[in-house]
Amino acid sequence: MTFEEAQKELERIVQQLETGQADLDDAIKLWERGEELYRLCADKLDSAQGKIEELARRVEAVKPSEPA
């Protein structure tokens, strides 16, 4: 599942819960699913941020010094 798909599903779940239409059983299932999706998205973002920062550090290391 991609980040975008997970994010979309999470938002759909939130909307669904907010309308108050779902009965409690479903609400709890939806809520649990929402939490699961949130963790999935958050993990993806954390790993993306880590990769970007790692790349930036590597680029910085090989950056040529300014000519005097």
Partner: protein, 361 residues
Amino acid sequence: MAKVEAAQYGDRKVYSVSAFNRGVADWLSRLPTVWVEGEITELRRQERWASVFFTLKDPGDGACLSVSMPRSQFDALRLDLADGERAHVYGRPELFEARGDFRFRALSIERFGLGDHLAALERLKRKLAAEGLFERRRPLPRFPRRVGLVTGNDAAAKRDFLTAITTRFPPARVVVAETYVQGPRAAPAIVEALGSLCEIQDVDVIVLARGGGSFEDLLPFSDERLVRAVAGCRVPVVSAVGHEQDTPLTDLAADVRASTPSLAARLVVPDAGELRERLEQTRDRLHRAPLLTVERKRARLEGAHGRLRALSPSATLERGYAIVRREGRIVRASAEVQGGARVDVELGQGGFGATVEETRE
């Protein structure tokens, strides 16, 4: 044409002075009539002479030409010429046979002062403008593969241009065509230089550079041949001729005008320092962009999560509500259970099992 007779002394052919002069005079008489420009000097006019004499002097190198004109014709012109005045003299060369003196026989004289000169330039300007030669304004290439430079052979203009261009854009490649930039040979020479630069395939722009000079010095840059060559040039031309107040006609025909050669250099190549700075800025943005994306996505995700949290059933239980389940199904109405039924109660903190004592409607 009279046959020039020579005496024969053995194997040697000998002319009399008179015959020689007549022969030369005859040759000269076949030359066409032309206009000659110079300064009037040593003007001699006397009532008892049939002709008026003066010397026409080249202001450039002082070369002299003796001129004569029948006095009646000279007087009829009512020119009232004085020594030092510039004139155009129309006539033909001739030999005064009796003395073997070569001179220019004037048929007409026109004073040619600065005013006349400017008027002639103005006429040329109007004519060329009417042909649309002064309307070309092509954009200059941003990164010319090569820059053509037409300039004098050790001109300060050349040095200024090259210094400015290599300071601003060190990798610039310049082809220099050195040529005459003043005097009568200049205009055709510059036209030729321009042509030779145009033949070099990767020359993308040409600069005509010449430092300031007198009105006379800059005349080649108003020469019709050169103006036409500039207007018809394959690549854009930058004219950097003279100082701001002079406007030679090539300036009008060029695509861009620069007031000095150094300024021309600024126009034809980009500033390498500026380019580098821009590149660095772009790179910084490149580095920041993905993190910004992550941050934006995170903010949106946290927003959704916050809303999810607010809807959390556990939050509701925390407020004191409880969920009653019987065999795993939520009990919503007392009719769903009977006394003695086992139920499961879930609280904000933990839960417990219970038995139904009684039910109410």
